[in-house]
Amino acid sequence: MNRKQKISTIQTALVVASTTFGVGVLSFPRVMAQTAGSGAPLMTVLGLVLALFGLWLVTTLGQRFRGQTIFDYGQALIGRWPASAVNLILFIFFTVSAALSSRQFGDVLSIVVFRRTPIEVSIILILLTTAFSCRRDIVKFSYIHIFYFPFIFVPYLVIMLVSLQKIDVLNLLPLTGNNSMKFIPGITESASLFLGSFIITILIPHMQKPKSAMKSSLFGIIISGGAYLVMIFSVLGIYGVEETKVLLYPTLELSRSISLGGGVLERFDALFIVIWFITVYTTLYSSYYLASYAFSRLFRFTDQRLTSSFLLPFMLAIALLPLNVFQTRSIVHHTEFTGLLLLTSYPLLLKLISLFRRKGGIHLE
């Protein structure tokens, strides 16, 4: 039974979607309301376009170098040592971003649900759960994403649909916001939501039809971007800009204020946190997987199981570094900005070099 399983186009799209729909879900509308006012949906779309550009670079590179990930063809393009250095930075970035995701998760949990449980416990638990599942090959990795996909998106859509009738269109107007929008922070914030789409680089070599990788990444981004958009529409539509700015986790508030079945099912926040847990888990899973993949590539380990367990204490240490919510927020902000810069400029560089070399006639494939 040596039939090698492959990932189909739709499955790749689902992985990208569930990876990019992540931790930011809870606080994202507040951030956007702060930077753009009622122009938040527009800002989200702009960020999405920027994210798509980065994704386009990574996908076309992956298609050009069949069967290789960015960690491999980077070495072929810019030489072994420079590429190793960049790979190290990539590894550090994914480790930090995975750790910060778990930290943000722990923050929400200890603010909303477990107010007396030490934050370490919730962080350790989610990290352990993730580390456990990082010991799989990429096909199984994609299966996990695919299986959880409906559990991530359907509840959000239900919440959005239930709240749809309460949306006040006035809150969404004017579309460009009342005050001038802060474009740079706004776009980077919203583009950094989609950083996880970088996962496509390790998926392409395992795809049935690598040619349609572009289609699937576009699809994936549109699914998660669409979900983000619907969410920001309903949060802003119900609360208005001013109230959204005040709320720490506007989406959570939204789930707290709806009811189903004539008040029998009220207070969705506890359930919502549980669903959100899956959302965080899949995102964290992707960055953890990328981190351990990068690590095993960096030191040429063949076994990823070991690296994933090895990374665990470091993740935990990084996750526990920030002292309070505000510090976490600013560290996350900086990391995301750096990540956006890194994950856009490095593929861009590679792309340029590959274009240049092709003209030079060096055949790399």
Binding site: T117, L173, I238, E266
Partner: protein, 405 residues
């Protein structure tokens, strides 16, 4: 292969151990060990209550605000409410199904801490359904109270905040015989009022949202006690700048709902129609179109209210109402009458600078240039609102007259 199993096993063991040893089930607390606060009443503390204070959260050194509040909490007593369908003798149980505790404090949380000092089980606000605030507290502003309630994740956004015209504590003690738990009666009363069109849906969360918008002000139900333990919605309490600005009569709630176009219609108007006699007309549906134009440097509001109604009663007159003309006459009388009520209501809110209608939001959304130029704080808009000219057009269509011809 063997090594793998051992590794897997070790990781699994680590997992289980971390589960068992790291946790002390910190947050686990059985439902019966929680003091579930079902309702809160907030009053101004009577003079002299500084001495009653327990100094749980501070040392009395005179640096704290003089203003003190008194809260009355209804706490569910486990075991008093039986599981399953109620027996016939539930009347006497209602007396004991909740425990009413009264404490004073400088702020809401201070008072709640004092409360915790008095009761054994940890208090939980997870089932807090109703908060009643006395008129005096509302006049001082609800900002401070809201701050605690917004911060605390236990509090639902679907809690009802009510303003009472008397001491709020009295409402906590009122125990109508209909429900097993008094709070739930109060709750079902307001919620049914919403369903029957007596009051717009106005949870705490909705109030907060309205209050935080620059171009709108919040409103709350205004309740009172009649007789010994009958609670009624006496009107609407509207706010300006976070403070209670005034209250209305019940019929003005109808006027407000008409101006906002909130369905279902529930209010009836008793009309004296010339030549026909007294006719009771109940509104069924409301459709409102509100438009804003900028004229002479001021927004001008045009309200186009379309109502549909039913004749429910006709008294004092042998006159026949079963004709087109009579119906048209009734509609016309209703329209003038009702638009008068709406106009008066809006005039009053303008004079109190309370934009409950949300005209400002309309300006912000559609006339953002004007808004961005003139409005830089909530107060700015409230000042403009007071001067806004209003044009109200009201049209009534009577579709049904009941079974009698």
């Amino acid at each position: 292969m063997n090594k793998r199993i051992v590794l897997n096993g070790l990781l699994g063991l680590l997992f289980i151990c971390s589960g068992l040893f790291l946790t002390g089930c910190w947050d686990s607390l059985e439902i019966e060990n929680r003091a579930l606060v079902l309702a809160l009443a907030i009053d101004e503390a009577p003079p002299g209550s500084e001495n009653e204070e327990d100094n749980v959260t501070h040392i009395n050194d005179g640096k704290l605000p003089d203003k003190m509040i008194r809260i009355t909490a209804q706490i569910a007593v486990p075991g008093r409410v039986p599981l399953g369908p109620s027996s016939a003798t539930s009347g006497e149980e209602t007396q004991n199904s909740v425990w009413v505790v009264q404490v004073v404090g400088h702020s809401l949380d201070d008072a709640l801490n004092n409360l915790q000092q008095q009761i054994a089980d940890p208090k939980y606000l997870i089932h807090l359904r109703v908060i009643v605030v006395s008129e005096a507290i509302a006049k001082q502003g609800l900002e401070d109270l809201s701050d605690y309630l917004k911060r605390n994740p236990e509090v639902r956004r679907r809690t009802w905040l009510l303003v009472s015209d008397m001491e709020a504590a009295k409402i906590m003690n009122a125990a109508p015989p209909l429900e097993r738990v008094p709070t739930l009666y109060l709750l079902s009363m307001v919620e049914k009022a919403v369903k029957t069109g007596k009051f717009p849906l106005d949870y705490l969360g909705i109030f907060w949202t309205a209050e935080s918008k620059w171009g709108q002000d919040g409103y709350l139900p205004y309740i009172s006690i009649r007789g010994k333990e009958n609670i009624l919605i006496k009107g609407m309490a509207y706010f300006s700048g976070g403070k209670l600005a005034g209250t209305t009569t019940p019929i003005e709630i109808g006027a407000f709902m008409a101006a906002k176009g909130i369905d279902p219609g529930g209010y009836s108007i008793l009309l004296d129609v010339p030549g026909i006699g007294f006719v009771m007309v109940q509104t069924q549906e409301r459709h409102t179109n509100m438009q804003v134009d900028i004229q002479n440097g001021l927004p001008k509001v045009t309200l186009n209210i379309k109502l549909e109604g039913t004749i429910t009663e006709h008294s004092e007159g042998g006159a026949d109402i079963g004709s087109k003309q009579a119906l048209a006459l009734i509609e016309k009388t209703f329209a003038t009458n009702a638009s008068g009520i709406v106009e008066d209501f809006l005039k009053v809110t303008q004079s109190k600078r309370s934009d409950v209608l949300g005209v400002g939001e309309l300006v912000r959304a559609h006339r953002s240039a004007y808004w961005n130029k003139h409005v830089h704080s909530k107060r700015d808009w409230e000042d403009i609102y007071a001067k806004v000219p209003m044009d109200i057009k009201l049209h009534m269509t009577i579709r049904r007259v009941g079974l009698k011809n």
